[in-house]
């Protein structure tokens, strides 16, 4: 691990965080990815680039997002102080917009005219379509047909924003398959196309670049927590699919040894193959979609199907920096089940008047356990990564089903 120009924790020159990361891509993608890396590192040193991105984040996205002390939720959890980082209040309703605008600006700087993106829950697809509309770029979003069914509202939003949504009918028809298809598209058209990857995943420099674009969350939250709580939090809690919202909020606290970093994966229905997406609970080191990391796989190295109530966490691999943070024990990873998340979803709505995304509801669900571990007076910071409008139909269906079973 080397330190970079800003004194921050960067992967080594080959894109490794410890033994995780790297660049495992087909030959055709090597040249475009090397070009992307050069341009990104160049843009990162360019004050004009960060000035323009800051302007967009402030006046278009609505940053800084508030830090809200959820007092009623804290009381319900046994008297802890809970602070919610309100990424749900960004334009488009999730943290995904931070990265989408950063990469879309970078694509423009590189002279690209066309963006391809993958999406699971649809939030990254919406954020990409939004950034493309704003910056005048063509946008194609690949989305598994199973996810299109689960997140129909977001499909319509993307189309309203002028994006083309391409259904992906291969494999498990979810996020993993959408990434395969987006990469295939990029392989065929590297000259005019930028692949706007939405999580801290994939080949170097994506995990670094996405972390950096999301690290604004942690910088703001750390400052706000010091102002409001008068001290650093005891723990920072975030849900982890690919892990971009988590790495974005963890990043500012990594050098604060008293702050525990807790990632919450999707425990689905049970930790048995195919019924969950908790990579650290049921996975092994492997290589998927360009990076060496923890992967849910069978004995022969084929990727296992995953399940989660939330499309955004329903993915077989985790971002390589999370694998690294787990290997050094700097961060810890737990999971919340579908039922836990559903309960967290309702609890936040009733106690705080905030309807979270089902993804973020996994982090909310973990609060009760964290409150037990830390005891009263603890300060717990939770990244509320997105809002739940997209999920209300799914939840309505699930609650009706639960009522039917109960009666």
């Amino acid at each position: 691990m080397s330190t970079n120009w800003f004194g921050r924790r960067d992967p080594d020159a080959r894109g490794y965080f410890g033994e995780f990361g790297g660049r495992f891509v087909p030959e055709t993608l090597v040249a475009p990815i090397e070009a992307l890396e050069r341009e990104y590192l160049d843009a990162r040193r360019d004050p004009a680039f960060s000035t323009e991105l800051d302007r967009l984040l402030r006046h278009y996205v609505g940053r800084p997002t508030p830090l809200w002390e959820a007092a009623r939720l804290g009381t319900a959890c046994g008297g802890v102080r809970v602070f919610l980082k309100r990424e749900d209040l960004t334009h488009t309703g999730a943290h995904k917009i931070n990265n989408a605008l950063g990469q879309a600006l970078l694509a423009k700087r590189m002279g690209k005219t066309r963006i391809v993106a993958e999406t699971g829950a649809g939030q990254h697809g919406v954020a990409s379509a939004t950034a493309c509309a704003l910056l005048g770029l063509e946008c194609v979003v690949y989305m598994g047909t199973e996810d299109m069914r689960r997140q129909a509202l977001n499909v319509f939003r993307m189309r309203l924003l002028g994006a083309r949504v391409e259904g992906v009918d291969s494999g498990s028809r979810t996020l993993k398959d959408a990434i395969n298809e987006a990469m295939r598209d990029w392989v065929a058209r590297p000259d005019d196309t930028h692949y706007l990857l939405g999580s801290a995943l994939g080949p170097h420099p994506y995990p670094l670049m996405v972390r950096e674009f999301q690290s604004v969350i942690g910088r703001e939250a750390r400052q706000q927590c010091l102002e409001q709580a008068g001290r650093l939090p005891d723990a920072v809690i975030a849900c982890v699919g690919g892990g971009s919202n988590a790495i974005g909020i963890f990043d500012a606290f990594i050098d604060d040894p008293t702050v525990r970093l807790i990632g919450v994966e999707a425990g689905g229905e049970a930790i048995t193959p195919g019924r969950h997406a908790a990579r650290f609970a049921g996975g092994a080191a492997g290589i998927l979609q360009g990076t060496r990391t923890w992967v849910l796989q069978d004995a022969h190295g084929n990727i296992e199907p995953t399940h989660s109530i939330s499309a955004g966490l329903d993915y077989a691999a985790v971002g390589p920096e999370h694998a690294y943070l787990e290997s050094t024990a700097r961060a810890e990873y737990h999971y919340a089940t579908d039922a836990d998340a559903l309960a967290g979803f309702q609890e936040l709505a009733r106690l705080e008047g905030i309807i979270p995304a089902l993804e973020s509801a996994h982090a909310i669900a973990y609060l009760r356990r964290a409150a037990r571990d830390f005891g009263p007076d603890a300060v717990l910071l939770v990244n509320l990564s997105g809002r739940g409008d997209k999920d209300v139909q799914t939840v309505e269906g699930l609650l009706k089903e639960a009522d039917r079973v109960a009666n």
Binding site: F24, T28, V30, A31
Partner: protein
């Protein structure tokens, strides 16, 4: 001198265009793949690439994706593919190259894979998502087992990286003659010639060109610039069309002979 070196030496001595074939192992079954490989060998192919089915073949187009799905549904695994090769190796003259994504090999364990591959007579390995920069460990272990490490080159590969692949790889270089995923096309791209000229300038290692080859005129066209042509999706298509029929092996042999006509 590896079996692959011998094959290219012979191709050059005979002043002809070599033919390299790709099939997805396990489509329609591993037992049939064994027979298919014997027939392709009998039909005169110079190198046999054996594809290991993987759940997420992101460098492959629809034809090989479907073949992969059929093979996985039939229970084909990397271990099974190696067992199958063990059974046919002595009946086949041509060198055999394993064509795989990284994860199945990593899951088996690099050491276990290398030792089993050597045991069953694998001559070379091409790992689609392990470019030269990531290949250090892989290459060293393959070399110590006498197995060639084959690298891909594409129209976007820089001169510097062509040199690197030439220096680090062995056996032959596999040039992808156009952008995009695997799949048969009507004509061979102009980019094939441009790539071949650039490669020839940097290295004397044998060069095979593929991606889009389906007809004898494609093979002949490639022969103007490279040592051998690779046929993949088009052959996988023939196997898909005749997969369940009694004439499968005859069709495969006929197709491979026709490509060389």
């Amino acid at each position: 001198m590896s079996r692959i070196d011998d094959a290219f030496r012979r191709i050059r001595a005979e002043k002809r265009t070599g033919l390299i074939t790709y099939v997805t192992a396990g489509d329609p079954s591993l037992a049939m793949t064994a027979d298919i490989l014997k027939r392709i060998d009998a039909a005169g192919a110079d190198v046999l690439e054996v594809g290991v089915p993987f759940s997420d073949p992101l460098a492959d187009g629809p034809v090989i994706q479907r073949a992969t799905e059929r093979a996985l549904a039939g229970g084909a695994t990397l271990a099974g593919v190696l067992d199958m090769i063990a059974g046919v190796r002595s009946d086949i003259r041509a060198p055999i190259v394993i064509f795989s994504y990284a994860n199945p090999i990593l899951r088996m364990g690099l050491d276990a894979f290398v030792s089993r591959a050597r045991e069953v007579g694998v001559d070379g390995v091409l790992t689609l998502d392990v470019p030269p920069e990531e290949s250090g460990e892989w290459r060293r272990r393959f070399r110590s087992a006498g197995i060639d490490t084959i690298f891909l080159l594409s129209p976007t590969t820089t001169v510097e990286r062509i040199r690197r692949a030439g220096a680090l790889g062995s056996g032959f270089l596999y040039g992808i003659s156009r952008l995009g995923v695997t799949g048969a096309r009507e004509t061979v791209a102009d980019s094939a010639e441009a790539l071949a000229v650039r490669v020839r300038h940097e290295t004397s290692m044998p060069l095979a060109l593929g991606f889009g080859v389906s007809r004898p005129e494609h093979v002949r066209a490639i022969g103007q610039w490279a040592d051998a042509a690779v046929v993949g999706s088009a052959l996988v298509n023939v196997i898909a069309e005749h997969g369940g029929k009694p004439d499968l092996l005859d069709q495969v042999e006929r197709y491979v002979r026709w490509l060389q006509s």
